[in-house]
């Protein structure tokens, strides 16, 4: 059946089964391939998007659960925190293979929206659900601190 929801400011109606993961609708039906498939069971965080502004693992969310909602993907995050994270990620050369990075960025931006000056522990607690197979965790943490500092000015 048709499922209607807003993605990155545009309303879409997608005719797929009710229990299709939102991730598949984003990637296969809408062509938004910035959001990645990693594990399919909410263990890795590569599929992170926002549901009405809050992080959501799109691989474990059926399209039937997002009717009428506002979804934001990595292609469209914006604002001061997103710009700060993007700049810090570039300056710190954070990604290695890059596969997990869209999920990492989505979680990092969400953290900074709620906590302008996170401690190491705050960062760990927010980012625990985002696994990086290249183990760039030290660079991720440093870049989040760097982004937070840039938001102070």
């Amino acid at each position: 059946m048709a499922h209607t929801f807003k993605v990155n400011g545009t309303t879409h109606s997608v005719d797929i089964d009710d229990d299709t993961p939102l991730l598949w609708a984003l990637r296969d039906n809408l062509g938004l391939t910035g959001t990645k498939f990693g594990c399919g069971v909410a263990q890795c965080g590569a599929c992170t998007v926002y549901l009405d502004g809050k992080p959501l693992r799109s691989c474990v969310t059926p399209v039937s659960a997002v009717a009428g909602a506002e979804i934001t993907t990595i292609e469209a995050i914006s604002g001061r925190e997103a710009e700060a994270v993007q700049a810090a990620w570039t300056a710190g050369d954070v990604p290695q293979c890059g596969y997990c990075q869209s999920g990492q960025v989505m979680s990092a931006v969400a953290l900074l929206k709620e906590n302008k000056k996170p401690t190491d522990q705050d960062i760990d607690l927010a980012m625990n659900g985002n696994i990086c197979r290249c183990a760039t965790y030290a660079r991720i943490r440093a870049a989040i601190h760097s982004a937070a500092r840039s938001l102070e000015v």
Partner: protein, 206 residues
């Protein structure tokens, strides 16, 4: 083919074994362990002994993994029938809904999503620290459950209403495939709680 290969690689990389590969298969809902009906305790003549015995039966539900996993003594919930620590690492947070950036609702939706074995409810959360049951005896849990300074200000009637109508409590009997449901039925559990309250809400000695 490509998604399957990717899933295989990710599953191996994450050490998930076959979990990710089998998530699309559905499993029938299991029944939990049996629970005695409240009426079966009516043969105990002493009211206090009957009440304490009723709570002993109630305790089979309270100490079951479906309930105990989210009433932890630490800041971290547990998961599965084996009661292992929740993965990924999540914490209670300020209001029982997780830490900023990784709240319960990041993964847990308003209802179970069986294709990915993801349990859900409209207010998925940890019990407050004052209602931690892990590591306590049944007698201690009983006293804690009745203590309005620790139970959210609920009197006995409110406790019975909570355990018979709260959707997250009711989820314990509908946990989705791969998880053993709480013992008996919610109706049996509610009747046991009502009988316990009506008989003076006595607590087991230990």
């Amino acid at each position: 083919m490509r998604p399957l290969l990717l899933a295989s690689a990710a599953a191996l990389a994450l050490g998930l074994g076959g979990t990710a590969l089998t998530f699309a298969q559905s499993a029938p809902q299991r029944r939990g362990p049996p629970l005695q009906d409240a009426a079966s305790f009516s043969s105990i003549p002493n009211q206090q002994a009957r009440s304490a015995a009723l709570f002993g039966e109630i305790g089979k539900v309270l100490t079951h993994p479906r309930c105990m996993n989210c009433h932890p003594a630490t800041e971290r919930p547990r998961q599965t029938d084996a009661r292992r620590l929740h993965q990924p690492v999540v914490v209670r947070g300020k209001d029982g809904h997780g830490a900023p950036g990784l709240e319960c609702a990041t993964c847990h939706g308003k209802q179970n999503y069986d294709p990915a074995r993801m349990p859900g409810d409209g207010h998925w959360a940890l019990a407050p620290a004052s209602m931690a049951w892990e590591g306590k005896t049944l007698g201690q849990i009983c006293l804690q459950l009745k203590d309005q300074s620790r139970n959210g200000g609920r009197d006995l009637a409110a406790i019975v209403k909570h355990v018979t109508t709260d959707t997250l409590v009711l989820w314990g009997w509908n946990p989705g495939p791969g998880r053993e449901p709480a013992p008996g039925t919610n109706a049996q559990f509610g009747a046991l709680m009502q009988a316990w309250a009506d008989s003076g809400a006595a607590c087991p000695a230990s």
